[in-house]
Amino acid sequence: MTDFVTVLWKEWKEIVMERSAGSTGSYRPLIAIAVFGIFFPFRMGPERFFSVVGLLPPTFFGAIVITAVIADSFAGERERHTLETLLASRLSDRSILFGKIAACMAYGWVISIASILIGGITVNAVNWHGQISIFHDAASWLLLLLGPPLVGCAIAAAGVLVSLHSTTVRQAQQTLSVAFMVVVVGAIFASGALPADWKAWFARILFTWSEADLVLGAAGVFLIIDLVLLAAGMARFQRARLVLD
């Protein structure tokens, strides 16, 4: 556990230093927080913002942010020739792997929560009626609690696999971005091409389950995806293999 925290500390410092280094990339999170925390909430109003639908954009944006930092954490460590020194230390493979993943997830989570918090303030300020509005249904709170870690973990674990096969940070980031687009666009097209009885089955779920049940169901699916991707990441992140890469 101590080693995990040590790696997390180092990774967090590196992410913060990289993101505050004054490059154009360092301003992107602030721009995004402004978009998801001010512009969208301003347009949405309190009813839509304090709902499951209102929470989806910042949740997924937090996950997208992870693609950039996870590539830098894994492919970057190799590109900057620091990986072998890290592997020559007493740290176990798992503490390195999970410390890095946790730091990247924490960064995505901070971006999501910052967007949601600023969004809440914006909505309340614009629509002030003497009372503070907050999320009022179980589904929203469940999504707020489970969404960023579960979606973030899936992206981070996929990022590990892609980064370990990439020679540069740029290559890893590009591959991850393309893969993300392919999954999203592919899911939209695939949903249209599903057999009629499958569509009916999905429609029945969508219209008969409560929002909270839907969130829990989606969380279950993401949990399975997370576990499969993490197991694949652990199998790939092996010291001897990484040294020879």
Binding site: W9, R80, T85, L86, L87, A88, S89, S92, A240, V243
Partner: protein, 310 residues
């Protein structure tokens, strides 16, 4: 018999068809500075990776600080420090954070870590700039910090892979002095790979020469100098032609004849006198003005070994 920090028996590593290390047998006494010399691609880095348990040998075995490299790599890595081919520094982080990270990795208590960071950075003249991101530093400063890193937790054994590579002569000399002082103060075993013979001569109590994965010689620098024929003769004069060099290189008593800055250099085999070769040179039309004889340097021995194995 002295306690051994490293013992390798028949250590061999093959990468597909390439034999990177071939039947290496070495013993490194605890507390010594061991120089592992060889040209690029000789197998030095592979040896360090094997000794750290980062990769497994194809055959043979090695014990480092009493632990088997094949099955106890984690124990070895916990008790050693390593500066590998690259500095391994996180350039976005400050010098202090770089050392703090590796100190935490080594489970050093905070108070001891703070004190050790101050001690090392002060000794290396880096303390005043400890809060700066390392990316802003010169190569020499980075390399000093890179050497401080593996020494931080006072390991019993430190691997240094070409620590002065790429530095200018002044920075390299300064770094060598720092390294010698730190090693002496700490009393650790140092396994140093280099192709800088002056560095090996200055720092090492024991030296091994490796080429294409094969160990060619082991001994103290003085041993190797005497074993390599030892006698180096520099002849100043005129008329030293390529034909004369070729003729001298064919003489059974000559290990090597070459021209260096206009001077004819003869490295003679053990027990050979220089007089017959002077006569030969004069007979072949050479004009001899001055002859200086002395023991060959480690570099001469190294070059001779490389030539012999070709």
């Amino acid at each position: 018999m002295a306690e051994l920090a490293i013992r390798a028996q028949g250590l061999t590593r093959t990468f597909e068809t390439v034999r990177a290390l071939d039947d290496l047998n070495i013993e490194v006494p605890a507390g010594s500075v061991f120089g592992f010399l060889g040209p690029n691609g000789a197998g030095k880095t592979t040896t360090i990776r094997l000794l750290l348990g980062l990769i497994e040998p194809t055959s043979g075995s090695a014990q480092v600080l009493g632990f088997d490299t094949r099955s106890q790599g984690a124990e070895i890595r916990a008790r050693t420090g390593a500066l590998l081919e690259h500095s391994g520094l996180y350039e976005r982080l400050s010098a202090e954070d770089n050392l703090r990270f590796y100190g935490r990795v080594a489970h050093m208590p905070k108070a001891e870590l703070d004190q050790r960071i101050q001690e090392l950075l002060t000794h290396l003249g880096l303390w005043d700039r400890r809060k700066e991101a390392v990316v802003k530093w010169s190569r020499g400063m980075k390399q000093k910090l890179a050497i401080a890193r593996p020494l931080l937790h006072r390991p019993g054994l430190v691997f240094l892979d070409e620590p002065t590579a790429g530095l200018d002569p002044v920075a390299a000399a300064s770094l060598r002095d720092d390294l010698a002082a730190l090693a002496a103060r700490q009393g650790a075993t140092i396994f140093l790979t280099t192709h800088n013979m002056a560095e090996a001569e200055k720092l090492c109590s024991l030296v091994a020469v490796i080429r294409q994965g094969k160990l060619l010689a082991v001994g103290s620098p003085a041993d190797l100098r005497s074993r390599g024929g030892g006698q180096r003769t520099e002849i100043t004069g005129r008329g030293f032609s390529d034909a004369m060099l070729a003729m001298l290189n064919q003489q059974p008593g000559v290990s090597q004849a070459l021209l260096e800055n206009g001077r004819l250099v003869l490295v003679l085999k053990e027990g050979e006198g220089v007089a017959p070769f002077i006569s030969l040179i004069v007979r072949e039309g050479g004009e001899v003005q001055e002859v200086r004889s002395g023991q060959g340097s480690l570099e001469d021995v190294f070059l001779t070994l490389m030539e012999e194995e070709k």
